[in-house]
């Protein structure tokens, strides 16, 4: 899914024009970029939080030549998934896990004709 797909859903569901939807979606991510640029953290309830982390500089090495290269201090963006989204993403997994438990070896293609049958009957 791309930014354009988010725009399309807005057009279809919210009765806004293509142009309005494009500006709205672009503005959302622009606002978030501006906050992070200023070192500000972002918290979107139910979705997640972004924060800017400072990394110290260190003396790195070129693994091929062994040459010492100074790595400058830098900033990175960390994301932590919100509780609601984390649970929603994880829940289909539980269903899949239960289904997988029924398959003896997941590397072997499932052959219904070769299923082990219980000797009870």
């Amino acid at each position: 899914m791309l930014k354009s797909d988010l725009v399309q859903v807005l057009v279809e569901e919210r009765k806004v024009t293509q142009k309005q939807a494009e500006i709205a979606v672009e503005t959302i991510f622009e606002a978030m970029r501006d906050a992070l640029r200023g070192g500000e953290n972002i918290e979107i309830r139910g979705f997640g939080a972004f924060h800017v982390k400072d990394y110290k500089g260190y003396r790195g090495r070129n693994p091929k030549t062994g040459e010492v290269i100074p790595v400058e201090p830098k900033k990175g963006v960390l994301f932590r998934t919100g509780k609601e989204l984390r649970e929603r993403i994880n829940s289909p997994m539980r269903a899949a896990e239960e289904a997988a438990a029924k398959v003896l070896d997941e590397d072997t293609p499932v052959r219904p004709d070769l299923r082990i049958v219980s000797g009870d009957d």
Partner: protein, 91 residues
Amino acid sequence: MTKADIVERVYEKVGFSKKESAEIVEAVFDNMKEILERGEKIKISGFGNFIVRDKKPRVGRNPQTGEEIEICARRVLTFRPSQVLKNIING
């Protein structure tokens, strides 16, 4: 920054009412949640990629007691900032 600040920006920029702006912002995040819940990834050019990853079960440890516990297979969301975003925050 919270959702309210984002709503304010959309309100200033797009010319919807406050209420409409709030609904639009809500709709975008709701839509993203639905996409990710289905296990699909989202690529936002100039911002970053949200990717759902399957984690295998592994043995973890309670750091306080040292007790070993099985951590179940699960699905997690990761965010990879784009090069553009990385450059912006380091600029």
